[in-house]
Amino acid sequence: MNTPDPQSSPRLRLSRRSRATRGLLWGSLAIVLLVLPNLVDPYVDLQITLIIVFAVAIRGLDIVTGLAGQVSLAQSAFFGIGAYAGAYCVDRDWSAPVGFVAAVVVSALVGAAIAVPAVRLRGVAFGMVTIALPVLAVPLAVRLRSITGGSEGRSVPTITAPTWTGLADDQWHYYLVLVIGTVVFVLIHNMLNGRVGRALTMVRTNEILATSLGIPVQRYKIFAFTVAAACGGIAGWLYLIPMGFVTPDALKFTLSISILLALVIGGLRSALGCVLGAAFYVLVPNVTDSSQPGRSLLYFGAAVLLVLIFLPDGIAGAIRSVLRQFVPASWNGGATSRHTNGPTDSRTAQPEPPTASTVSTHTPTEGDAP
């Protein structure tokens, strides 16, 4: 992995012009996303809705893997738990917000329960403990028929658009998922651009130094894993909105693997990367599996290996470096707001060393939330 060279990344101020450029970019993206459902057919709506759903799950994993530096293969379990919690609440005739809270709370609790023993291990062992969760969850979901509906899973009635909106159901689903997904991304962005993001970066890059500086390493890892679990749960709940069903397949660790690979293909430590990875995950099987189911795995594996060899920062990283070639003037490299002290400040949570620290100290809402 390419960690930024401390020499080239002092704290830099994001110039007004570049801030305006960024605002313009995200503003136009927001407008495109808002008007899109009126221009395309329901199938495209569904695809974009699913991309947002999986982007939330991938962003969650990014907190554990990208920020805290631990491989986790448990994300599918949280995705499934969130979906099951939501479906169970619908079955009980509880309102949708109750289902949402249940999805978040249950997946976060399970995440914390796994994280507490797992963080005692450093390095590879953490990933091996997390693999236990999806592997256990699938037979458990088949067994607990009264809650999960057994191997057939659970389905929920289609959410219909309220009449005052004048929207078709698929457009309503799209907007619901878009709004909740955006809120999640903004919240994560704000969280990572402050103390938590810096602490997690420290934990990843130099655990011993982090400990000696008084950062409670294990507590931060548990926290990261719990937030990731909650994001997985939210994604699972969101998945119910367009799809309307959940089966034990949602828990399988093959989904965890796909989420991990999608994250790496899109780019670690980048909101844009998570969205691109989700797009890759959702769209590629449409193209490749039409001739033979399962072939997408070949392209997935090949893509991740090629990306790791040639684009270590993923597609998002490649886009960023291309952009930087064309708009170097928008970065005002001279104005240092504070001097760095050691690797802490130079390697901030954001993938883009020059912008990260300034964004974090001045305008936390601006940045790369969709």
């Binding site: 990933g127 091996m128 690979l261 795995l297």
Partner: protein
Amino acid sequence: MQALQQVTDGIVAGSIYGALALSLVLVYRTTGLVNFAQGQMAVVSVYLAWTFLDLGMPTAVAILLTLAASLVIGALTERVLIRRFERRDPLIAIIVTVGILTFGNGLIVYIWGAALKPFASVFGGHDFAAGSVRFTANDLGTVLVLIAVVVVLQALFQFTRAGLAMRAVADNPESSALSGLPIGRLLMAGWALAALVGAIAGVLIAPKVSLQPDMLDTVLVYALAAAVVGGLDSPVGAVVAAWILGVAQNLAGTYISFIGNDLDIIVPLTIMVLVLLVRPQGLFGRKEVERV
């Protein structure tokens, strides 16, 4: 005497986990990595064996060819892919192995298709009974082959120059390089050897589960558990742990009604978590001490 039967079945199952756990340990000892693709590489080997047998080759020739091909697959994987990521961020190296796992699965679907293929035991189809305990020739062969593999590996590491060199590289790559050991070739040898042992595991289990692209996914989880419980750097530990897990799983699945056959995977995973909590270096592993 159902219990005795369960113990026997557990040892047979444990021997399969143990064989794959051994290849995980081999890779860990040489490169310090956990290779999530170990099972998938073995599956590719088994499909090759199926192809050789399908072409009408005698069993012995087909198996020897398969083992040779596995050595090449292992060595090439290390040389072409892993080498780029060694001694750098272990997170990325592990993700690379996950990528290889996915790629291998897709490749098998691409070449051979996803349909089940039957795979006959290389030991023939005889059944034996000792008292009330029944087992097949494949069961007996599995246990004996595993024991042979452990003995050979242990001897290799203890009594040969190559084994000593591999241990040195695993222990301290920099000093080994300075004293003239060919690090790259030794790492390749480690991966080749691991792929060979993995292929043996695959050929042994194939008659039980039939050939399919994800046939070793579950076995990989057991093998990981066994390797962790045994201590990631101990071949003997991995095998003993695999037997313990196999027997515990079979007994619990039979006698604890809540667990049953569908949830028996809970047993090895619980044992793994408990061992990690009490003794993170595993039952037979050495404790890692890091100098600050």
